[in-house]
Symmetry: D2
Subunit: 408 residues, 4 copies
């Protein structure tokens, strides 16, 4: 995709209205024009003009209203609008430790196919990662008889510190280099626009669109996999900070001169609760933990704790207490309506336990009002990829609407 | 003031435009219509209509443009608009430990008079505090030959956990009771609408309008007086959290099972850096600190540290390190453009020192991009009151514009 | 007493044997010569010679054996020996926070009279303290119709860092000056030899002679009153360290950069468990604790904890955990047979609880052998004074035996 | 060796005198009878009788006095006594991580030969370790044309918790089993009496006999190799505690709920300063540290710190500070005359640095008297073995003297 297609300024008022209308239709599934006007605050006349343009561009289509059909109503059947799923094919990719998770969705947001691929290694040079992603896209499109060039937009999520608006990776555990203009590198190789973000932000996006946060304007997602991450949604928007360095939940300091973190600093939350933090304790004190692979050693730790081994318990217990303290800090700063603990879960029950949530509630500022709701959302790797696709969908929609404006 | 004057829903589009126009004019000092159109994105025709209404209502007035006057220009003199200072008298009050700071500003934002008053005690029943505020307003208006009933709006700032939109105090160190509907109590006693908020938020408002954050949309103010507070501004708006319990900087936990805080919990930042935290250490180990009053004992501590007393130094040094860690946590979560350390300063240099700022920079997530700017803003008690007045000014302007709509 | 009476070198063999014989008799109450020979390993002939000397000097006397009397035995009645109580009057003094506890015992070790006296203040100049002690001795001897000059030796215990063999006080909370040659000052004022030691060592001496450690050669006493202290007995002897600065249990560091101690250092155990440490936490967070006197505030804290107040509980709970950790450190270093927790007890149950002892056992090096026995010994202030008297008794006995040698 | 040769009770007076005489002669190198009498306090007549017996038994021999020879003195040449080196061959073995260090000394204490051998693995079953030791003894004796059966006594030092008087190993990192009656197992396999002790105690013994503590009655040795250990000498005797679980310097707790130790407990000093503690931090944060072997990774860490790498420095710096705190605790408890830091040194300068010693001095109880002297003694693995041999030498001498008594 040519960089110049991404318009320099913000969208104009008409473009914003068109995009809003598409998103209202997509969220609703199908909806009548009059209901669109009501939901958006745009006048019925303008809605009629906009939807006419969108139908002309093939982005939406008219259908007989469900309501009309089911009521077997007399008189003229009501007409509803829906997004044309076939209008665009959108891809989402999550880069994990050694693996890629990919998903394709249509323009309606329906999942078409999922695919997992091996990466060339756990930490890669940017060009190697780019080629791995291309190979993954070739593979997933082949599964449904399409080609990579058919994809209208690609969302990519990876761990690390990322300036999403710039498509710039300050640092990622998946890359061998710092300061990579990764979006541009991907767009130079791939035939579609690319939308890059921190993976926890994409989980927040997924929770907002498909998950536990539908209809909630202010919430926080804490992701738990090998490490911990955070996505902050304020007033419906992902909060990213000035340089893309906000929401660094794993690097909140919870102890002066505390345990050493992978980042080289002391006392980060991650240095107490992430997999490496657990393993470096287990490795010195649990004979059973000296297995060959990380996942086997972790599994041995979890099993030992479950079986009542005191040392294993103390490892998980301290992680739980530190995690609760980290969560309490987030509540003390954001006072959100909702916190979602989001992850594959596996055996990491010690971070999702009632004890953690209860300890967190004990450590927040106490007022005579209910504390934030905490939801636990267990799901697999595909959720990350789906969040990436949802993020790309926003971008694809915006570009499609703009093209409409330019063509007009 | 009758509650019904505060309209139930959000403002309509026209009201929003009018308010925006007033604020653009106030910020500019004086400004031509065409420049208003450009700054607001409102069409010139609409600007003309709006300003006509505002002039009719006495909120703004025409003046000969400075530019025209100074250029001695030929032809028709350009006309500019300015806010009519005399249109409204607005009051701000900061409730401190035993004292009230009051300020009156005109509708242009110019300070007319300041006044300090004694409170009946450091912690008061809500009705006593209300009467103390009324007495303070009577005194400050008397100073300029006006009466309390002339005030169009009152902003009140106090420490504690406050739900500003509801005017509700969950808890404040200045009140003997929890869960006080303080705004309603004040409005029942006073003849003007009242706008209540946490004092650190009002400092943020003051920094935004008159201070170091003019023109910055995303910043954080950390206030340092007897304790530490925080105001968060995101996208130009004060961020308050769901229940008014956000931005609790002093209650971020910095140590598991750490020092006991006044709030009854362990490890809060305040339990390491606030005056009481310093004093409880000084009181057991510094003979010189056993003076009669808190401020004398603090002064003795600061002097001893300055004179190189090892124990005094270690007290301030640990506070500095904990404070730096708290600041780093804020940066790791918000990644703001700007942090303002704001306070009277006095001898609390150990919290403003280069060492603190440098330690904070070492503890934030390291990327190859400049860290947030840190500004130090030293000012006295009147700044708090002025922030309260600024907050009230927003409300007064909104109400004036609405009345205009209703009258129309 | 003239300094020259304290002989420069160690005692000679004969003196040692004589002293040993006196102590065997005193411990036994009464005992036959043949049993003395067996217990001391001294030959019967030598025992006969020694006891003859001691009887001649009036230190011991012959009595009809209890055994002979009770068995109504035929034949020649067996003769036993006992210490002549009237031979010497020995005094013990414990210097506390504002008060003196005094006791007089006879040469048999029987308590004759106890007395409490006010001190001129909590911290005194050495000469003031000396005169207060003289006044106390005058008062206690008057109670039994004697005078201070009748006392053969005085034991003095006070808190602080004391070089007992030198009679030198490095530092004591009871004195306004450091580095005081207190024994010499007292002996210049008083008519008897003075034996000075750290108060916790004297409790160890009391436990060894009258308490829970009779017959135990290696044990540790931990004293709990306003602070914590320790006396170490190795191979029957009090272990004092090179400069009298050993056994500083309260100043073991349990936290790097931890809470500030009265001594000006950070992380001392005392800074977590002593009365001042509890109070400085209670004072900021428990409204009920803001009473007028230390003991009332402490009482309020203990009551609140007992009533289930969460904050009060957390104050005592952390003290308990730190104390257990300190005890575990002592066990990990000394591996003693017995630990005695010794104090007035009052409401300080949180330091004597089963939880503390169990936590301590969890934190010592784990071997498949029983951990040290822990005994709790509750007693009042007079125990300290009695320990001081016991310490003086040793000295008086040694001097009496030497005088015998010189006279011989 | 038959167990019954180790007499049940303590030694009798005559045996004690004989042993004392041998040791005085050995320490002196050579010494006249009259000087022996003076040093031991035994009468000249008794010295003459004892030395006659010892010469008859071949344990000592007469030599012309050095003094006589060098002074070219007139008259009858003075006769001195020296220990007959050939009287006994004594072996010392130190069990390390995968290797054995062996040494043979003669009865004079002169080193004859040293030898290093591989162990079958780092952790061994007791019978495998026993056979490895036998193989090592066969090898070292072969080097000088002798056989294992020629050895009169074997000292064995290994890390762990050891009851030396019982020859019992509660736990050792070198053994796969707990609770091993290792001395008896070794004596069942080997033809000589075996003397077993914790390795740090043997270093203390070596320091006392050959090293920095000659002539010092009260001192503490802190050993630094992969972990830290401690030997305590009080009144000339190694202090071992009741169950052999004393002097556990590495398991002093320095942090409540701190880092996990190999022992399964939290907050042990070892968990901050030992090699494994450094490596588990380096492994997550220093790319260079991910080398293949422990020693290479350690070397990389030390080099990086030396080169100024901030993360490497923080790893060593925290270890230094914790170590200083541990040393201060020892001083606060023992107040010794002398502390010896004893090890191979290598690159572990961060534990021997002036900063450590200075920090330790800042953290001990402050009195106006000089703090304990700290000496640093750098030496290699053979010192451990030599300490083991010295320990065996005491036992061999005692047995030789007893045999003399039995034969008499």
């Amino acid at each position: 995709m040519a960089r110049q297609e991404r318009p320099p300024g913000g969208p104009d008022q008409r473009g914003m209205n068109r995009q809003q209308v598409v998103e209202v239709i997509r969220n609703a599934g199908q909806i009548a024009r009059i209901d669109i006007a009501q939901k958006t605050g745009v006048s019925p006349a303008t809605v009629t003009a906009i939807t006419s343009d969108l139908i002309g561009a093939g982005l939406i289509e008219e259908v007989a209203s469900d309501e009309a059909r089911t009521s077997g109503g007399r008189g003229r059947p009501r007409v509803a609008l829906r997004v044309r799923g076939a209008a665009h094919l959108v891809a989402g990719v999550k880069v994990s430790f050694g693996t890629l998770s990919l998903v394709l969705i249509d323009f309606e947001g329906t999942t078409i196919v999922e695919h997992d691929a091996e990466l060339s290694g756990p930490r890669l040079a940017p060009d190697v990662l780019s080629r791995d992603i291309l190979r993954g896209l070739d593979a997933i499109t082949a599964k449904i008889g399409r080609v990579t060039a058919d994809i209208s937009g690609l969302g990519v999520g990876l761990a690390g510190t990322i300036n999403a608006p710039e498509g710039f990776v300050h640092w990622s555990p998946s890359l061998t280099e710092r300061n990579v203009q990764l979006r541009d590198m991907l767009e130079a190789l791939l035939p579609m626009p690319v939308f890059l973000d921190n993976d926890a932000n994409l989980v927040a996006k997924a929770e907002q669109l498909f998950g536990e946060a539908r209809g909630v304007s202010d919430f926080i997602v804490v992701t738990i996999e090998q490490g911990v991450g955070m996505g902050i949604v304020i007033d419906g928007q992902i909060y990213r900070g000035t340089r893309g360095c906000g929401a660094e939940f794993g690097h909140i300091k919870v102890h002066l001169d505390g345990a050493l973190c992978r980042c080289g600093q002391r006392g980060c939350l991650e240095a107490y609760v992430s997999d490496y933090a657990l393993l470096r304790e287990a490795d010195v004190s649990l004979p059973v933990a000296a297995g060959p692979s990380r996942s086997e050693r972790l599994e041995a730790l979890f099993s030992a704790a479950h079986a009542g081994d005191h040392t294993a318990e103390t490892i998980l217990d301290r992680a739980s207490r530190m995690f609760a303290m980290g969560l309490a800090n987030i509540v003390n700063i954001f006072d959100p309506k909702l916190i979602i603990l989001s992850g594959e879960r596996m055996s990491r029950d010690f971070l999702y336990s009632d004890d953690v949530i209860s300890a967190m509630r004990d450590e927040v500022v106490q007022v005579d009002a209910p504390p934030p709701e905490v939801k636990i959302h267990k799901w697999g790797d595909s959720m990350w990829a789906k969040g990436a696709a949802a993020y790309a969908m926003e971008g694809v929609t915006e570009l499609a609407v703009r093209r409409l404006a330019i063509d007009a």
